[in-house]
């Protein structure tokens, strides 16, 4: 059960087709991407900071915490991952809080391709998706056939969602068309024999892209190439998701839908560890995109340690007292 993709009308398809000429050549693509409105760094950061001062309390907080739990892609991406660890994580995803069955389940379990089968089995019937990081994650430095084989393997093993990384080297050296074609090829590799397709999330590694202008350009590039989700980072570098970068990507998906009619989701990943942080991100979604994007279909948190903090805050709201790390499960 991949995330439902809304059927866009003829109008949207037409508008998207009319964008085809901007991807006709690397020059055309560069002109288009460099013609997007610039980003003023100070202004962007100030806006993100202002949204971070919203005070979310009582009923709004309870609602937001449950919403955040349901948006988590619970992740384990370690070289030392074992089937046992993945199974434990899956169990936690289904019942995050063993003491409180009203806690919502998470959106997806995110693993390396070789663990997809294990996760798929452990999650059978739960409704939780299996997401897999393919395409030579996290560096993305492999030949295209290798990346596509990686993707096909994961899809064949049952992955509902593919988190691909872009070739940052190609993007930074201005070979935009190469990146575009690569995303398109991976998207095609997400197809299943029955005609359905795994959902494609495109990871930018924004911490390596250096400028906000680059983040806006790469967002449009990925969306034009057919990304279902755009994702900030792998969680494997020094700077991962930040509020300004996420805000910028939210603005890009908003503008992309206005231009093409196609709705794309956003996933900040890496470094979001506390309930307070997660609520700030939800406020950004709420005030930038509105409630249409406030579901796990259109917004996700890529996180592993965030869930426990959300659960502790959830327990605090229901009991009035803080518990502690021993009152939630380790994985």
């Amino acid at each position: 059960m991949p995330t439902t993709v809304p059927a866009y009308g003829k109008e949207a398809a037409g508008r998207l087709a009319s964008m085809a000429d901007v991807t006709a050549s690397n020059g055309a693509l560069r002109r288009f991407l460099h013609g997007l409105p610039g980003v003023d760094a100070v202004g962007l950061q100030a806006r993100a900071a202002t949204l971070g001062t919203r005070s979310i309390k009582t009923t709004a907080k309870a609602y937001a915490i449950d919403l955040a739990v349901s948006m988590i892609d619970l992740t384990t991406l370690e070289g030392a991952d074992t089937p046992g660890k993945v199974r434990a994580l899956c169990a936690k995803g289904v019942h995050p809080d063993p003491t409180d069955r009203t806690a919502p389940k998470v959106a997806a379990i995110c693993v390396y391709p070789d663990m997809v089968g294990v996760a798929k089995e452990a999650l059978a019937g739960s409704g939780i998706h299996v997401a897999s990081v393919a395409t030579a994650f996290p560096a993305g430095r492999a030949a295209l056939p290798v990346k596509l084989a990686d993707t096909r393997d994961a899809v064949a093993a049952g992955a509902d969602e593919i988190d691909m990384v872009i070739d940052r080297g190609a993007f930074l050296s201005g070979r935009y068309l190469e990146v575009f074609e690569e995303i398109k090829a991976v998207k095609e590799a997400c197809a299943r024999p029955d005609g359905s397709a795994a959902h494609l999330k495109v990871i930018f590694e924004t911490g390596e892209l250096q400028t906000y202008d680059n983040v806006r350009r790469v967002s449009w590039l990925a969306m034009l190439a057919g990304a279902d989700f755009i994702k900030t980072s792998t969680g494997k570098v020094a700077v991962n998701a930040t509020p300004p970068v996420t805000l910028l990507m939210l603005e890009a998906v908003r503008d992309f839908r206005a231009a093409t009619g196609v709705q794309v989701g956003v996933k900040p990943a890496g470094g979001i560890r506390t309930t307070k942080d997660a609520l700030k991100y939800l406020v950004m979604v709420n005030e930038t995109l509105g409630e249409e994007w406030l579901t796990a279909d259109w917004f996700r948190f890529g996180a592993s340690s965030l869930l426990n903090d959300l659960l502790m805050q959830r327990q605090k709201l229901s009991t009035g007292r803080y518990s502690g790390p021993d009152y939630v499960t380790v994985d």
């Binding site: 610039g38 202004g43 962007l44 806006r47 001062t53 005070s55 709004a60 907080k61 603005e251 406030l294």
Partner: protein, 478 residues
């Protein structure tokens, strides 16, 4: 618009503010009653609740305050700069310590959102005292001669839009330079000045150095006309500014006037659009538009007009209007019934003259003074809303085709306080800034203040500069 993620009310507690039922005048270090015995009431604009009574200062009270200031001047001006700095640093620290209390008080009395009084006003108030405290022992290095002297007694009259911040802009440089002051706060927002009087006492400031005389326009007129003051500093409307200029004409008094504005916020087609929209919102809806340097005229390049206005309207629909003490409120109450009437009158005139009016759907509270954020499109230079200062959350949108036209339209106003330029092109930014006749020009931002940055206007926006090194000149005999 029902939202599945509606924020629960998050009101700041007003328990941190201890309001007395009645306040006297602060003269010679003591709170005293007015000679006339008259009392006025100050209300919360958000609820119309009476907050406290305060004294209506008379000419006799003003005279008493000026005499106290004159007496104190002798010793205060003779102190070494480093000694004066100690008092100013102490005041700055006390403001920081009491900032939550002062922010809540300011929001109660003025109607501005707590988010702004807490995050903008109070940090800036403290910063101004810290900044000028730093100058007090370095006046000889400010570029006004090796040993510049203070003027004497300063009579200062401040407005209601930023009551405590305007007090800081006036009092901090005056004291740093060795002057003593008599300050009259606005009649709708006297409370924070009276709390400041208490901070002066807490800081052990010598008696008479700061005197606060509350009252209405007649009190201010008596202060400005007092023969024994050496300096008049006024921030407020252009009309009152002109009256003050007439009063002091022909006397030895030095004058600085910070008056109205009708700033152009100019957006080119290569602007960073999302940040420009934030800048436009911040330019006109900050402090309910009660800002003399508000970006009340949006000049947008024709080619991006539709796109920009769509984005602006979408953003305006997310502004939260309501209880100023709620931490999630973006736009608070209009300061007074009189001001609400003036905004309403001008907005109606805009409609009558053919401009198209738009406001987002927003529910306004039942009591208090409220005005929804409002946008006028199709405005021309001939419309009243493009010429007169509304001093409220009302934005007029005009268009231009070329940079020359933008300059001509921006400068075609009796005012000249501020302007904004939005473009990614640095050369155009500087070219425009050279041609705009305005005291402050922001680029790719708006309504940013800093104690080190001078502020003041051209034409009917007044003369003289406050803030920065330039702000010292107004209080020194140079």
């Amino acid at each position: 618009m029902a939202n599945i993620f509606a924020y629960a009310p998050a009101p700041e507690s007003r328990a941190v503010v201890n309001l007395a039922p009645s306040y006297g005048l602060f003269i010679d270090g003591e709170f005293t009653e007015s000679a006339g015995g008259g009392l006025r009431k100050t209300v919360s604009p958000a609820t119309e609740e009476v907050l406290a009574e305060y004294a209506q200062g008379t000419a006799e009270d003003v005279d008493r305050a000026v005499r106290a200031a004159r007496k104190a001047f002798e010793k205060w001006s003779a102190l070494p700069g480093a000694e004066r700095a100690k008092y100013l640093f102490r005041i700055a620290r006390l403001i920081q310590e009491r900032s939550r209390e002062l922010a809540v008080l300011e929001t109660l009395d003025n109607g501005k959102p707590i988010r702004e009084s807490r995050d903008s006003d109070l940090p800036l108030v403290a910063a101004h005292f810290f900044y000028y405290a730093g100058w007090a022992d370095k006046l000889g290095h400010a570029g006004f001669g090796p040993d510049p002297k203070p003027l004497g007694v300063a009579g200062q009259v401040i407005p209601w839009n930023f009551p405590l911040l305007m007090l800081a802009w006036k009092i901090a440089p005056a004291l740093a330079c060795g002057n003593t002051v008599v300050l009259k706060p606005a009649e709708t927002t006297p409370l924070s000045a009276l709390f400041f009087a208490d901070i002066c006492r807490q800081a052990g400031l010598p008696k008479g150095v700061v005197n606060i005389v509350t009252g209405d326009g007649s009190t201010g007129a008596a202060l400005v006309a007092h023969p024994d003051i050496n300096k008049v500093a006024f921030t407020g409307s252009t009309g009152v500014g002109k009256a003050i200029a007439r009063t002091v004409a022909g006397t030895q008094k030095k004058v600085t006037l910070e008056l109205g504005g009708k700033a152009a916020n100019i957006v080119f087609d290569d602007a960073p659009v999302d940040q420009a929209v934030e800048g436009i919102v911040n330019g006109i809806f900050f402090n309910q538009g009660h800002v003399c340097c508000a970006g009340s005229r949006l000049l947008v390049q024709e080619s991006i007009q539709d796109e920009l206005l769509d984005a602006l309207k979408r953003r305006m629909a997310t502004l939260r209007v309501g209880d100023p003490l709620d931490k999630n409120t973006d736009i608070g109450a209009i300061n007074s019934a009189e001001q609400l009437a003036r905004i309403t009158e001008l907005a109606d005139a805009g409609e009558a003259e053919g401009a198209e009016r738009w406001s987002p759907a927003c529910e306004l509270p039942g009591s208090g003074y409220w005005f929804a954020p409002t946008l006028f499109t199709g405005v021309t230079q001939a419309h009243r809303i493009a010429r007169e200062e509304v001093f409220g959350p009302v934005l007029s949108v005009l268009t231009f085709r070329t940079p020359e036209e933008a300059v001509a339209k921006a400068n075609n106003t009796p005012y000249g306080l501020s302007a904004g330029i939005w473009t990614e092109k640095g050369s155009r930014m500087l070219w425009m800034a050279n041609k705009l006749r305005a005291g402050v020009i922001w680029s790719n931002t708006f309504n940013k203040f800093d104690p080190a940055s001078p502020f003041g206007g051209y034409k009917e926006s007044g003369h003289g500069r406050e803030g920065g090194r330039h702000g010292l000149e107004a209080y020194l005999n140079v």
